[in-house]
């Protein structure tokens, strides 16, 4: 495994990789820096990078002027609610497919996956119409349901791959020791499944948080989450770079931090186990 590498080469690799890494990260860094500038500094010519008077003013203004907390709360409810609901529905399904597989298990899994491929725009009007009829337009519960449904295939799929890694012998052993089905699920399987469930929760929370088709099309003022709130900055008046940056930083910071913990799950969750 360990290939001998000259220090020289390692230095070159490091410099090169850091350079490219920082270049890719730069737009995010620039947004964060700009959020601490005054509007005048934000558009200074030439641009100032680090040496300016740092201010928290933009964060205050964004919060006061736009009721930011409500959009944030909507995002939390919608992303959290849809993920938790999806997991509650998916656990029994994934469980039974992993531990009591039948001839049709594979077909069902693939079919579930295929529902994820349905282009949203193809069913935009029906969903819109159903939402109007049921009074779900611009409500959080409506979005919780829709985002739960679009992420359900990924949730089932991820849980299935995690559950399948739990060795069946352990179940047999516990059964031989006289454990009931209830004991088996509660004391044997659940503790082993918790890491997998947590990973699934994390990745799908991120996906739901960033979802920007249904959240833009099915909300107006009341239930709009952060995706829609940020989109409202697309036709601004006056000076706004610093405020846009502050709003953006607040919208992405929690997810960036969560995302860093979920790199591994990302591969598993989005390639449906095809790349390990």
């Amino acid at each position: 495994m360990a290939r001998a590498v000259t220090t020289n080469r390692k230095v070159i690799n490091t410099a090169f990789a850091w350079g490219i890494g920082l270049l890719i990260f730069f737009p995010i860094l620039w947004t964060i820096l700009t959020s601490f500038k005054t509007e005048a500094t934000a558009i200074a010519d030439p641009p100032v990078f680090l040496f300016f008077d740092w201010t928290l003013e933009n964060y205050q203004v964004v919060q006061e002027r736009s009721n930011y907390a409500r959009f944030l709360w909507n995002s939390v409810i919608i992303a959290g609610g849809s993920t938790v609901l999806g997991i509650i529905i998916a656990i029994p399904a994934a469980w039974s497919m992993a531990f009591v597989p039948s001839r049709r298990t594979k077909d069902i899994l693939l079919w579930m996956l295929s529902t994820k491929m349905l282009p949203a725009v193809g069913v935009l009007y029906p969903i819109y119409l159903i939402f109007i009829e049921l009074g779900l337009l611009d409500t959080r519960i409506g979005l919780v349901i829709v985002l739960m449904l679009i992420n359900l295939p990924i949730i089932v799929w991820m849980l299935y791959t995690y559950f399948r890694e739990i060795p069946g012998e352990i179940l047999e052993a516990s059964r031989m020791d006289g454990a009931s089905l209830r004991d088996e699920i509660l004391y044997v399987l659940t503790p082993m499944a918790v890491p997998g469930i947590a990973s699934t929760l994390l990745l799908n929370f991120i996906l739901a948080w960033n979802e920007a088709f249904w959240t833009l099309n099915l909300t107006a003022a009341k239930a709009a989450p952060l995706t829609a709130f940020i989109a409202s900055y697309s036709s601004p008046e006056g000076l706004f770079y610093a405020k846009l940056s502050a709003a953006s930083t607040m919208a992405i910071a929690p997810i960036l931090i969560l995302g860093w913990f979920s790199q591994k799950q990302l591969v598993r969750g989005l390639t449906f186990g095809a790349v390990k």
């Binding site: 390692k10 990260f25 529905i89 009591v100 594979k106 491929m117 159903i130 295939p153 940020i230």
Partner: protein, 288 residues
């Protein structure tokens, strides 16, 4: 291991998920099909009766159709090309021994976690704005005339923004694949005197073949339906109207539901063709 009893319990446990997804798939799909054969204008008379395949014909013969197809192809193709080529190079680089590998990886992956509306707006205003954007400053610094990115080079700009968002995904998956490569094979080739380009072409690239296919298929499905990036940058103007965006405009902006639904059926068929290939690969992997 499975008894008759546990079988029926299993079916019961799967029930809710299957029923919900079945409903989610079938109800809107059937409604879209239904509307696509009707002249249906909610704001101008409502349901005006059955018109057969008229919507399907009108959708593809409208003057907006072919430009939207080419915009879609350019965006999907451009982003795929950039993310796969750069993704392979970046994955190989990140696989090399270096200091601070974990941090570099975090920096590279970060864009994937930025919500689409934020990345589109940040690029639009802070980078591509012809007066105050960083690109404009850079161009002026070198004595060039700043470019009106989103109107004069709208497709290129959108490809750039979307590539930035999806490069982490390609890199991460390709890196995972590279790390599963048996390093003994590479060492053997190295000892036999194969130079790095040859090792890349004959060992690394074939090993990555499957991962690249998966990246291409999954990204294609997501890229075909990008929406927010266009919604907040150009609003479909300046030749950046994709098929998805065209359907959105027909359905919600001009409220021609019949016509938009016919377009939706085309989009569904297109996505299914791509999905079919993806499912075959995923399915094969399930057997293993």
């Amino acid at each position: 291991m499975a008894t008759q009893h546990s079988r029926s319990a299993a079916r019961l446990m799967m029930g809710p998920a299957v029923v919900l997804l079945l409903g989610w798939m079938l109800v809107p799909l059937l409604m879209t099909l239904y509307f696509s054969f009707k002249s249906y204008l909610p704001l101008r008379g409502g349901d005006l009766g059955w018109i057969g395949f008229d919507n399907y014909v009108r959708f593809v013969t409208s003057s907006a159709f072919w430009p939207s197809v080419s915009a879609t192809l350019i965006i999907v193709g451009g982003v795929l090309l950039i993310t796969v080529v750069l993704g392979v190079l970046l994955a190989i680089l990140l696989d090399q021994p270096m200091w601070g590998q974990g941090i570099v990886r975090i920096l590279v992956i970060a864009p994937f976690f930025v919500m689409p509306t934020v990345s589109a707006l940040v690029w639009k205003n802070m980078f591509m704005d012809p007066v105050n954007g960083l690109f404009a400053h850079l161009w002026k610094f070198f004595g060039a005339q700043p470019v009106e990115w989103l109107s004069d080079a709208s497709l290129f700009s959108i490809v750039l923004i979307v590539s930035w968002q999806w490069l982490p995904f390609a890199t991460l998956i390709l890196l995972t694949a590279i790390q599963s490569l048996d390093s003994e094979q590479l060492e053997a080739a190295e000892m036999d005197g194969a130079p790095p380009p040859k090792r890349f072409v004959f060992i690394i690239l074939p090993h990555l073949g499957r991962a690249i296919t998966i990246v291409v298929l999954i990204q294609t499905i997501f890229l075909l339906s990008i929406f927010a990036e266009i919604f907040v940058t150009t609003g479909g103007a300046f030749g950046s109207r994709t098929l998805t965006y065209l359907i959105f405009q027909r359905v919600l902006e001009s409220q021609n539901v019949g016509l938009g639904s016919a377009g939706g059926v085309y989009a569904i068929i297109l996505a299914n063709i791509v999905a079919l290939f993806l499912m075959r690969i995923v399915g094969k992997n399930l057997d293993a």
